[in-house]
């Protein structure tokens, strides 16, 4: 069920990314697909996250003037990196997720810009300005979206905690006093 909900969330994110810039220019600074990809990666399912990353990236690239595959490349890498971090570090607390989405956004922008530079297709935009605004917009929107996702999509926190920290088998101690007798 969670899989279906996440897929629906990703489709909505792609549709929002396609349309919102036409409604208001500043909304383009929010990277909706990245928010969902990072969320999927935080569920510690790396394969699902990288497939989400590739699909969402190419869907955005297809309507963009940039290189086809550039977003797919950066988002696949981000999805893998975040899922690997989430496997090693407990990141189910919302406060811990804020720096994760900010870092992912920064890295995504740098990879996207870098691949374009590498292939001789420099974007005609002020790089630092775009990176700064995207970082702010995506982090704020990501925090709000994660609050909503926790409410409507996520499985129970207790179950996730059990998955992350499986309980150790406890052996029963014998009473030393009784033994002595």
């Amino acid at each position: 069920m969670e899989q279906v909900k996440l897929t629906i969330a990703l489709v909505i994110a792609i549709l929002l990314q396609w349309t919102l810039r036409n409604v208001a220019e500043p909304l383009a600074f929010i990277d909706f697909p990245l928010i969902i990809i990072v969320y999927a990666a935080l569920q510690r399912n790396a394969i699902r996250a990288i497939i989400f990353g590739t699909i969402a990236g190419i869907a955005v690239d297809a309507l963009s003037g940039g290189l086809l595959g550039a977003n797919g490349f950066s988002k696949t890498l981000i999805a893998y990196a975040v899922s690997e971090v989430a496997r090693r570090v407990y990141l189910d607390n919302l406060l811990l997720r804020i720096p994760v989405i900010a870092g992912a956004c920064l890295l995504d922008d740098l990879i996207y810009y870098g691949t374009h530079r590498l292939l001789g297709q420099e974007p005609s935009a002020q790089v630092l300005e775009i990176i700064a605004y995207t970082l702010i917009g995506t982090t704020i929107a990501g925090t709000v979206v994660y609050l909503m996702m926790e409410r409507f999509v996520a499985e129970s926190p207790m179950r996730r905690k059990r998955d992350m920290f499986p309980q150790r088998r406890q052996t029963r101690r014998r009473n030393p006093i009784r033994l002595s007798k």
């Binding site: 036409n22 600074f29 990236g57 940039g66 490349f73 775009i130």
Partner: protein
């Protein structure tokens, strides 16, 4: 993951290599799918913004009304004068045998989508190959040149704006035939400013002069207005001028454009065989 990354990288490499000629099937079909979402959203959002705009306009209506009444009286006088001038103009035109028709057919189109990535400035229009739109057709507004078509699906087309760094176009300061200040116009990091390069420093250039296309780039026809000069950093006898231009088409605010149904003449065979000099440099 490596397979997916490699796939993306191959896509990018092919796209970078053939950015000026071919188009990807993925782009075409995604555009078709996106059209069903973008068109209704654009219609609804423009209707909503028009509604709120009309409410806001009511506030200033009273003062505007008084000003307009006075303006009507002034205009009535102007109309009489204009009518006389128009009649005179008609007579002169018929004498000179001037053609009134536009040189190329224009297909009106509406912008239904903007580039989903903030890094670029392409736009999606609601006209596609079914309407006769083809790759590299120029796109204009009543102000001037907007860009060219870079991807076409049956229902929509993608337009790359002239403000893009890679969109070089051949241009001349003043009208072709009367000026020899030729150069290449391309985008800068600022969306509303273009740069004109390679204009010899020995040519006199003034702020405010108009820039037109030359038709020598093999994409745009000659005589389309590109913009006006806003800044000149003078060159010398050996170095070219650095000229900055404000595009005459409002690239950030346009909602309706026209596609010029103009196909550039085919390049000579020897030119098609030449390697891509620009990509070789890099």
């Amino acid at each position: 993951m490596i397979f997916l990354l490699l796939g993306n990288f191959i896509l990018m490499a092919f796209d970078a290599k053939e950015i000026n000629s071919g188009q990807r099937v993925v782009r075409v079909w995604t555009q078709v799918a996106a059209d069903f979402v973008q068109s209704p959203v654009t219609s609804v959002s423009s209707a909503a913004s028009n509604y709120f705009q009309s409410i806001a306009n009511l506030r200033t209506a009273q003062t505007e009304n008084d000003v307009l009444k006075q303006r009507i009286q002034e205009l009535e006088v102007e109309i009489k004068q204009t009518a006389e001038l128009t009649a005179e103009n008609e007579r002169l035109k018929s004498l000179l045998n001037l053609k009134e028709q536009s040189k190329y057919k224009i297909l009106p189109a509406k912008i239904i989508g903007r580039d989903p990535s903030i890094w670029f400035d392409s736009s999606i229009i609601n006209r596609g190959s079914l309407d006769g739109v083809k790759l590299n057709m120029p796109v204009v507004t009543d102000g001037g040149l907007v860009g060219r078509v870079t991807a076409v699906s049956p229902l929509t087309a993608q337009v790359d704006l002239i403000s893009r760094d890679k969109s070089g176009l051949g241009a001349v300061i003043g009208e072709i035939g009367t000026s020899n200040a030729l150069g290449v116009v391309s985008g800068t990091s600022k969306k509303e400013i273009l740069e004109m390069r390679y204009v010899p420093g020995s040519v006199e250039v003034k702020v405010g002069e108009a820039i037109y296309t030359t038709g020598q780039d093999g994409i745009y026809p000659e005589g389309l207005k590109v913009g006006e000069i806003v800044e000149v950093r003078s060159g010398s006898a050996t170095t070219p001028h650095q000229i900055y231009i404000r595009p005459s088409a409002g690239l950030n605010s346009m909602q309706e454009v026209g596609v010029l149904l103009y196909e550039s003449p085919p390049r000579p065979e020897f030119e098609q065989k030449l390697p891509n000099a620009e990509s070789k440099k890099k």
